[in-house]
Symmetry: C2
């Protein structure tokens, strides 16, 4: 796209400056999370893949074990933060307006407004979008891409940056598979084609199927991060 008064080279430079500034702030967030022994996950997906339902189920099951807080991103509304607060966990809603992703600055500001959750879990639910959030580090330990069985197998190939950036793919709505033409093996093959290291779990936030394996993954990855920090 041509912009009056700006060369293509300058536009590329501006994009680099924005990402560079974001990465600096993400490192500040990461240091803050480490200082408070907080394990942070950045949940990304298409709109409607079921991130909020997954979080509601996860918080209900884990809230007695360690402190949990949530930062919610959406263009508009505070619906998701309200659904989270109904579980008893604190939640801050960030509205991005015209923006298609959370950035590290928004997350740093929101984290500062949350009550302390030292030694706990921070879930960051990004704007539902398989493109923009891929490029923005928020300071999280891992990106987790939530993928619904209703979305079609080829999404990892069509939106490769997001699947390349994620450590875990949660295939949600597994309870709907009997009513769909969904090829699980092909979905996993496509995800591994863009990211050979991606881990995969199948879950249903609705029925609870597979959720224990997700909690075990969180415990293992949080322990591993804490061990790295102690070295």
């Amino acid at each position: 796209m041509h912009v009056p008064g700006l060369s293509q080279q300058r536009i590329v430079q501006i994009e680099r400056d924005i990402l560079g500034k974001n990465d600096e702030l993400a490192q500040v967030n990461r240091a803050r999370f480490a200082a408070a022994r907080v394990f942070a996950l950045n949940l990304v997906s298409s709109p409607g893949a079921g991130k909020t339902a997954l979080l509601v189920k996860t918080i209900s099951d884990l809230k007695g074990i360690r402190p949990i807080a949530v930062i919610e991103g959406d263009q508009q509304t505070s619906n998701d933060a309200e659904r989270i607060r109904a579980t008893g966990a604190p939640a801050i809603q960030v509205n991005t307006g015209k923006g298609c992703h959370l950035d590290a600055s928004m997350v740093g500001d929101a984290f500062a407004r949350l009550p302390a959750i030292d030694g706990g879990l921070l879930f960051i639910e990004n704007v539902g979008n398989l493109v923009c959030p891929a490029a923005f580090d928020l300071g999280e330990a891992h990106k987790v891409v939530v993928f619904s069985t209703t979305e079609g197998e080829d999404k990892p190939l069509k939106y490769p940056d997001m699947f390349a950036a994620s450590s875990l793919m949660l295939i949600n709505k597994i309870d709907l598979v009997p009513n769909l033409d969904f090829d699980l093996a092909r979905t996993v093959e496509y995800a591994r084609r863009v990211n050979p290291k991606i881990e995969v779990l199948t879950v249903s936030a609705k029925t609870g199927e597979g959720m224990k394996a997700f909690y075990a993954w969180i415990a293992k990855r949080a322990a591993s991060l804490a061990a790295d920090a102690a070295e």
Copy 2:
């Protein structure tokens, strides 16, 4: 977001310049479509809402009636263009790379590469994304937002720009409703709250339910555009 060497005012100006330039090129596209009596629709949705399946069904049913061509947008792959070409209709795939939407320049270039479809239908399938494509006019007669019953009722409130920009909401995968907790009336109410004029049709690309009403909508809107042009 702070960008070294650029004031916030300058960043807002750059965004305006990009949209302004896009709008100019969209008007050029619109004039080209009018000159060839082509009725163009810009299909927008979340990833996996079923835009391509809807187009495959639509082309199969309408291809004997008037010429049809498709411009496909995706970050990566030419899967969708291949699915369209299997119906016999010409299709051009545009890969947006890091980009989260088609722009008028991409559509103008792709239209020039398609065979002539004078008096026909042009379907532009945008990148699966409920945020970015809302702001970019491609020269289409109407934006049509495809919404899947699996996505949850509150998406029109969370992504209001897209529903405000669309003339028609196609609620797809209506065949799955018996297996879901989906409240159709509430979805329509939320969509009308952000856009009182939006028309709504329920369809299933898989079973064909409701598709005739969509074809009737196309015929009516295309006739109305042609009548306006003749005035």
